[in-house]
Amino acid sequence: MTATEAPTTGHVGQVRLRKEDARLVTGRATWTDNITPAGCLYMMVVRSPMAHATVTGVDVSVATDAPGVVAAYTGADLADAWQTSLPSVWQVTPDVKEPPHYPLTQDKVRFVGDGVAVVLATSRQAAVDAAELVDVTYDPLPAVTDVAQALKDEVLVHDDEGTNRCYSYHWDSGNVDEVFEQADVVVERRLINQRLIPTAIEPRAVVAQPEPTGGYTVFSATQIPHILRIQLAIVCGVPEHQLRVVAPDVGGGFGSKLNIYAEEALALALAQKLGQPIKWTETRSEGYQATIHGRDHIQDLAIAATSDGRIVGFKADIKADLGAYLQLVTTGTPMLGAFMYPAIYKLEAHDLTITGVFTTKTPTDAYRGAGRPEATFAIERMVDELAAELGMDPMEVRRKSWIAHEEFPYDTITGLTYDSGNYEAATDKAMALFGYDELRREQQQRRDDGDTTQLGIGISTFTEMCGLAPSRALGSLNYRAGGWEHATIRMLPTGKIQVITGTSPHGQGHVTSWSQIAADALGLPYEDVEVLHGDTAISHKGMDTYGSRSLAIGGYAVHEAAQKVIAKAKRFAAHLLEASEDDIEFADGTFSVRGSPDAAKTIQDIALAVFAAHDYPEDMEPALDAEATIDPENFSFPHGTHLCAAEVDTETGRVTIRRYVAVDDVGKVINPQIVEGQVHGGIAQGVGQALYEEAVYDADGNLTTGSLLDYHVPSAADLPAFETDRTETPATSNPLGVKGVGEAGTIASTPAVVNAVVDALRPMGVTDVRMPTSPQHVWEAIEAAQGGAA
């Protein structure tokens, strides 16, 4: 190969088996719970069995004397351990209520699972036994389990705030009243976006260990080792440089490990206090109470259109149940959807109110999609309702109202600039794959036959904003952090490289994808790239992994660091080849002199020469290493068309998905298999919300879906074989042309499935089925539509 050929993209765009998998599938991963330092003490948190009560006494004396117990502490005992409250990162309005939230409560308990004491013992068994001996006395207060009740402010979750209203946010653009008055059709609905429990396969765990040289190492099942380090340093008063945070292998998160949790702070504070390693691992049922929940919005919606089906306006009045305390992004999660209610449609008016409300339930926070699934569900369900009202095909309504591909970049009514997209292309491909017309014919046949099993077709032409986020945009929203990402490339003497990333994968396959990016950029064999992450001692800088940000920002940073390595190497090459730098060309890992192809040095030659440092330019350091910190110029906007055909047994209410077609446009693809994996998992999780999952509280504030026995997460046996395909419209906001894929499937699939269920039942008079569209809810909807008394 000669140097005049354009560089090939040997790895990017190709399936490469994941470098991560051999360890994971042979049981050689290291989860936090596998780490047990010598002399480790096991921590148990004593949790409130009541949703709301004044704590009148906490007596740990009997527990302290129990076999194997080293110490037990109440909230009061540890009050001095905290420099500040646990953090809430987003001040969404100037007057948002941010009540204090300490790792153990003292005055009141505010949800079932609120921590009141800790026990430390030499074995897990002893800790569990002793926790039962802690005597807590409670003076019960009424539970506050729904937002309407909470907003009456008769019972306050945080007395000092004087209200349960955490914040109210209003935003409109366009002439809302006029647009709605002049519209030919306005359809209104109340939709319930139920509470969900994230359910990562690995439960949360933390180990905090004092180091003999001073300082502490915290191992945590977290998505955010870097953010955790800063925040734990602040909360526990440990100098940042004396705190190392390691995220070892982490088994999924979906937002549930994007937080600064009480147990992480407790473990560190107790390691400080006792000078011994402290370990805590949640049980599944404990996690269901003490790890964040997601969604839980009541959505009052109105969509306005012309009689020929052009959507002109959308109104959303959202009541978000925040639960008892503010976790890291509790306030901001509904806000992450605030920009997306207009979705792909060219609206003339938009009106949004979000009211965040405290209740005596587990705090909610970011769960896969965070705000965007809520917004997408609202608009995509309403477009189908509008189509039904107009007697039009729901895809026809969409086609009339969406942004045409030639209109990009497009400034939306909510102030975003969608850089690229092609809704027509994705839709045409999906419709063909699905056999839309054929399925519509079958649907009609079943309707005509009065079949007890009806067929419904559901559409979701979604888009989302991800790649969080341009730091200045975050600043303007009073988000108390930036959204950049960092990468370092270390050139080793033999021309192998280490890529250090500030992202923190927990299932996404960054080691593989980053290897592909770096290998192509530098013309190196894929095997010669090692990717390091998840340890603040190695990766000093990063903003971690969430919000489908890692590739669009972190992958971009890897690419950018590689360009810097090449720029340096080029100067060394010019020096060694005795040519002008302007005459040096780089392709496929080789630097050559233009016009004399024999004069060439491989990047490995240069790495070795730089290592030896015998002969290099006067004005350079003998090093090829480079780092890049990328602050993205824009969000990224993946989109796609998801189509669902669902059969509904109108006698039993059972929904069975027969076909599910997803055509996603996530821009350029680094590794198609990883993308497909993300799409499959994402769809499954969105189907979970549509059909199966709901966190249910009783009137006393008890979580009645307290384990996997009652909280129904679908398994492969409950899901169809998803049919996936892609279109590729590159993002223009980064040189890789990539968007993001982690959340897309989840954002898209929930409305596609619910639209299908409602579509199946529409001839029976049904206009909505409350999620999850369980047999019970389907049956109730049919009975209600038919005037029954379900």
């Binding site: 897990r124 068994q125 569990v128 036994d129 039962e132 049980t283 599944r284 049922s285 006698e651 039993t652 209410g653 059972r654 199966y692 249910v696 009645t704 879906t705 384990s707 009652d710 129904h712 997460v713 679908p714 398994s715 046996a717 409950d718 369980s774 047999p775 019970q776 049956w779 109730e780 379900a790």
Partner: protein
Amino acid sequence: MIPASFEYVRAGTIEEAVAALREHGDEAKLLAGGHSLLPLMKLRLATPEVLVDIGRVDAMKGVCETDDGRLAIGSMTTHQDVMDDPLVREHCGVLAEVTAMVGDAQVRHRGTLGGALAHGDAASDLPAAILALDGTFTVEGPDGRREIAARDFFVDYLTTALQDDEVVVEVRVPKLDGDWGWRYEKFSRVSQAWAIVGALGLVKRTNGTIEEARVGLTHMGAVPVRASAVEDALAGNGPDAIADAAQHAADGTDAPSDLNATSAFRQHLARVLTRRALEAAAG
């Protein structure tokens, strides 16, 4: 997820098991496959002080034919062994079919017939099957053996007619002679989950009519029940009587309300599932 501490006793024979139960009274629990008991212990909803492991009592494993022409299934026979047993398959295929719908493969390889029945769980599938089969329980206590009819065995939620010091030794079911058809309609929320409602239809067919019909219902009350109004309405009638008869499936039941279904919805499901089960069984 860590049970309270307990003492562990391994019984080698039925007599040893009975003796251990007698010694420890209601502090003791028999441990069979552990698939119902251990989850409760891990959640500390059950905290027995002594576990008497009957896992190695071979006399309670396997299937044989009895002198009175029935099948005797040892209570420690695992679900999988019940399903695979040639005698069960030949003479009482319905039991194999219902058993195949219990949990997942792991559960079926550890869980036992006796454990599933003795546990007395309202959502468990096998009690309704044994009830529909008019099975009997052979139990042994300090005073020897006695036989309990299935209809007397299930008393209330997690409560059976067993005394604290009694062991279920075997379960007897009839051989189904003649032209029997059956179908168990198990309705659950996700695959491999417990029944919200289950309806077992068992039909003896003679010359195009239903000579005898039996319906066992799962999770329509604290204990499994027979839909006797449906059974009575069908005896001697043709399959076209099924739809009307099934309307009475929920008569006299006391269906619970829970997260998966209200009582009213359970009653509705019982009617639909009973009809479907009987139509398939009669077909």
